[in-house]
């Protein structure tokens, strides 16, 4: 089974703090994705990566950056957290020519 793990289930940070969200997958997938999920808006793509050290902006990249130094790990960085970044953050991965994305359990981030 594909396993995607995220470093924290719940996180509380203060405005202006730098926040790191980590995602690890164990299936040697090439592609990894970061989404945020808000009520009524569904999943919105923040950034994705097709390979190590490669990244591409999704639909809402403003206020975020990413890092992919190793194939299994994709990090989402909030350089200076703001209250409007309070959300559920979901990581996903896919690979081997398949289109199905497998998700991690999510990190619920609250920015005070």
């Amino acid at each position: 089974d594909v396993k995607v793990t995220q470093s924290s289930r719940y996180l509380v940070k203060r405005t202006g703090e730098k926040v790191f969200l980590e995602c690890v997958q164990d299936m040697d997938h090439e592609n990894m994705f970061w989404y945020r999920q808000d009520p009524g808006l569904g999943l919105r793509l923040i950034y994705f990566s097709y390979d190590v050290k490669m990244k591409e902006k999704g639909d809402i990249p403003e206020g975020y950056s990413v890092s992919r130094e190793k194939k299994e790990r994709f990090s989402l960085i909030l350089e200076s957290a703001s209250t409007n970044q309070t959300s559920m953050y979901l990581c996903a991965s896919t690979g081997g020519g398949a289109d199905t994305q497998y998700f991690g359990p999510g990190t619920r981030l609250t920015v005070l």
Partner: protein, 114 residues
């Protein structure tokens, strides 16, 4: 049924009944569709998928139907159980131009009444 960008509709069914959850998609170039189940506080879980060269696919207690003419997707759950209570949403891959990116609907809340 759900569609991208709309509020979250709710479907209530009695335990043991069949459930039908609908999804309208917008891009006629989409060639791959997935249904996910998301329980409260958890990440989305893959249920079943279908390619555009098919109009029906069956899994264990679930069936996905695809009508490309009207750009409509449905998920049928047979003999609905309390454990099926969750938000269900569809996703589409917009063909070769979309790479591995998926576009997601906002979801339908399924409530199973005992």
């Amino acid at each position: 049924g759900e569609s991208v960008g709309l509020h979250l509709p709710t479907l209530s069914v009695q335990e043991g009944d069949n459930s039908i959850i609908n999804c309208a998609y917008s891009n006629s170039a989409s060639d791959y569709f997935i249904w996910y189940k998301q329980e409260s506080g958890k990440g989305p879980q893959f249920i079943i998928d279908i390619r555009s060269n098919m109009d029906k696919r069956q899994g264990q207690r679930v069936t996905v139907l695809l009508n490309k003419t009207v750009k409509h997707l449905s998920l049928q759950i047979a003999a609905t159980q309390p454990g099926d209570s969750a938000v269900y949403f569809c996703a589409e891959n917009m063909g070769t131009g979309g790479g591995n990116k998926l576009t997601f609907g906002t979801g339908t809340q399924l409530k199973v009444e005992l």
